[in-house]
Symmetry: C2
Subunit: 236 residues, 2 copies
């Protein structure tokens, strides 16, 4: 870990252990330099990482402030590391509904930029939090990037498995959201009624070197799943 990363982690840790609230002022740049016994550029880099992650905001000529919000139990729309890291305090689980190696449709080929000759994994899971159903997850994985999966792996965090076994991490993702009415089959999975409202997300996950390897469609339970995101106005 680089110095600026460890400084960023320490500041983040301090915000949490001191239970600092939204808008509270952090020490100045100079004070942080003394506190962490490091250079100005390292502190600037650390603050930059914290700002990117919406943990602080910096006001020129005024100071560095904490950003923190009531988001307990909410799903962070901005992370692409899977649910497990979003909602650490809640008990998360996955129930496998189906799992097979299939021939990709044209739509899947387009999203994963693969050929119809390349089989893909098709995984359908129910995602739960504290035994409450969050969503039906319908995912396709490129077998060239994810060569092996089994039911046991699928009962836990797939991304955690990919990270540990293949050093594969999500670099970025694109998420598309719309609202619709539940089909009979999804209503059954979510124990809701046909035509009940739902949030539908389509997400394409790319590896750190830009290869799309996972195309997922989630259909969320409209009463159990709530979301948040933090937006910083970075003008080009």
């Amino acid at each position: 870990m680089l110095k600026y990363q460890s400084v960023a982690q320490s500041i983040e840790h301090e915000i949490q252990t001191k239970d600092l609230t939204q808008g509270e002022r952090l020490p100045s740049l100079t004070e942080l330099m003394t506190q962490y016994n490091t250079s100005k550029s390292t502190i600037i880099k650390a603050l930059d990482v914290l700002e990117k992650n919406n943990r602080i905001f910096q006001v020129r000529g005024s100071g560095i402030f904490v950003r923190r919000n009531q988001r307990k139990g909410l799903i962070d729309l901005q992370t692409n590391r899977g649910f497990s890291s979003d909602m650490e305090d809640a008990r998360l689980s996955a129930k496998v509904l189906s799992f097979a190696k299939v021939t990709p449709t044209n739509e899947i080929c387009q999203h994963l930029r693969c050929s119809p000759d390349e089989p893909v994994f098709h995984v359908k899971r129910l995602r739960l939090k504290d035994n409450k159903i969050l969503c039906v997850e319908d995912s396709y994985y490129l077998t060239t990037v994810v060569p092996y999966l089994n039911t046991e792996i699928l009962e836990h965090s797939i991304f955690e498995y990919l990270k540990t076994s293949y050093q594969l991490q999500v670099g970025f993702s694109e998420k598309y959201l719309s609202v619709g009415k539940l089909s009979q089959s999804n209503a059954d999975y979510l124990t809701l009624s046909i035509d009940d409202p739902c949030l539908i997300t389509h997400e394409i996950f790319y590896s750190r070197n830009g290869v799309p390897f996972d195309y997922s469609t989630n259909t969320y339970h409209y009463l159990n799943a709530n979301f948040f995101l933090q937006i910083t106005n970075t003008t080009i």
Copy 2:
């Protein structure tokens, strides 16, 4: 404008005019230094801004690549500069439903951190794109930050007005999303039926020095409004 900002704008401009697509490689750091006749640190800063804005992604030891997606007509959940800047190509308009100075409820006081003695502006508008209804917007503005509004201003972009008249810009915002069923009154505004699905967003907008000045609730038309966001995995 600082040098790195103008370099960032030029690169962004080049991506657009050359119509580069997702995954295309940009010139290397060294080539960009030559092209823009500037220092390494300026190019790094410019690339950092472009990465923050999800315009490029950088792969260590491999290169700089374009990020671009089919998002025409979609609402970008990650900008807080209002609709007008999100969907520049589409004809956007606003129809004022009601406008008054009111005493804030406890909920509003909490979000805008104001006292019940301070009146706030309450604005209800219908937002349209190409004459199709996008949402009902229900907003409260702190009069200490936004001292004046009128119907003519409300028929256009409020944020544009605040920027021009008060040099007030959004620094950051928090957005909460949930899905529900339409009330009769919102169904009437959206020309849908009661109990039809809808996305509801609650958003708190903060000024650049961290003052919350606008609390808005949007109820979106489930057929006319679709959304996207881009997520980069920045680990602390």
